[in-house]
């Protein structure tokens, strides 16, 4: 029975982030946390495998100490246990640091037959953690997966790569990154939510992971982000008569030199 691990990130909900129009700085003061979009798919896929084949799913995350708030949401989606690493410096971490921390935690909590991740996180969208983890753990990495089958140690997957798809096979253990289209994440039921509170979750103290100072020092420093504002004409025709609107739009296209 497979022993699965799924890594996830608890991110700020980008819908709650506002751009301050005066200096284009970001205002995240009213933003709440959420489970990163594609990580929902990774958690769902791991849970589906467990529900079909038995075994266990551990969920693992690294984030600010507030990441503990994610425990109930994640466990209600299926995983059997949750491990979290809280670090006040996590908001400065880059993919290098995140991968180092997760790999160290996996060495401590593992081994696992399969490690699943989302394609990229909703906030930074680095798309690096799966391949970095695989390199650090010396495992094969199957990235950008839209279909996954696990039979014993053999993993068969369909990868979607933009210019085509390919079917691949590896013998586990392996790291897999999943795409959004791989499944439709569940909306947890009441029993699943209630069940979540009975499942174990524990903090893995960062200090206990045996990481050196250098491994926790980001290689990439993010300067303060600036909002991207679109400046468009916003001329909207909303007459009750569709033909009138169409006439006006055609005239506008003509004026822009975009007709014919």
């Amino acid at each position: 029975m497979p022993k699965l691990l799924v890594c996830y990130k608890w991110v700020l909900d980008e819908q709650d982030i506002k751009i301050r129009p005066d200096d284009l700085s970001l205002d995240a003061s009213r933003a709440k946390g959420k489970l990163s979009d594609f990580d929902r798919n990774a958690i769902e896929e791991a849970s589906l495998i467990m529900e079909a084949q038995g075994g266990t799913v551990d969920a693992l995350t690294y984030g600010l100490p507030t990441v503990k708030a994610s425990v109930k949401d994640v466990l209600s989606r299926g995983p059997s246990r949750l491990l979290w690493i809280g670090d006040p410096a996590a908001d400065q971490a880059d993919a290098y640091v995140i991968a180092n921390v997760l790999a160290a935690a996996i060495r401590k909590a593992g081994p696992y037959d399969l490690i699943l991740c989302g394609e990229g996180s909703s906030d930074l969208f680095y798309q690096q953690i799966p391949a970095r983890l695989a390199a650090l753990l010396e495992l094969p990495c199957v990235s950008f997966v839209q279909k996954l089958t696990l039979e014993g140690p053999v993993l068969t997957a369909t990868r979607s790569l933009g210019d085509g798809t390919e079917e691949v096979r590896v013998t586990g253990p392996a790291v897999v990154s999943v795409l959004g289209e791989i499944n439709k994440p569940r909306i947890p039921s009441l029993k699943q939510v209630l069940g979540a509170s009975k499942k174990p979750s524990e903090e893995l103290p960062l200090a206990g992971l045996g990481l050196t100072e250098a491994e926790l020092e980001p290689k990439a420093l993010r300067r303060a982000p600036r909002g991207f504002l679109m400046n468009r004409k916003n001329i909207i025709y909303k007459d009750a008569d569709p033909a009138a609107n169409v006439g006006k739009l055609v005239a506008s296209l003509e004026a822009e030199g975009l007709r014919g």
Binding site: D16, P21, R30, I187, A240
Partner: protein, 96 residues
Amino acid sequence: MTIKRMSPEELLALDRFNVDEGNPHIHVDKTLCARCQSRPCLVVCPARCYQLKDAQVAFEYAGCLECGTCRVLCSDKGVTRWDYPRATFGVTFRNS
């Protein structure tokens, strides 16, 4: 930036919605609405979910604020079913 007159669309654009596509939480019977003379829904709905199109009441549940006013005021009971949206769907207030 300052306070300005905003269209209903601009007001609703301030809010967060997670629309339960294809699964309306309010059901409106158009034949009953066609007979209705008073049509209070057109003015009392604070999200302007009810609008007159081709002399008919057209209903769109996507921007619903879930207040219930349309159901309470509906004179000919054209609002045949009014539920809260399924859990996790609908409007989410963060600052009210």
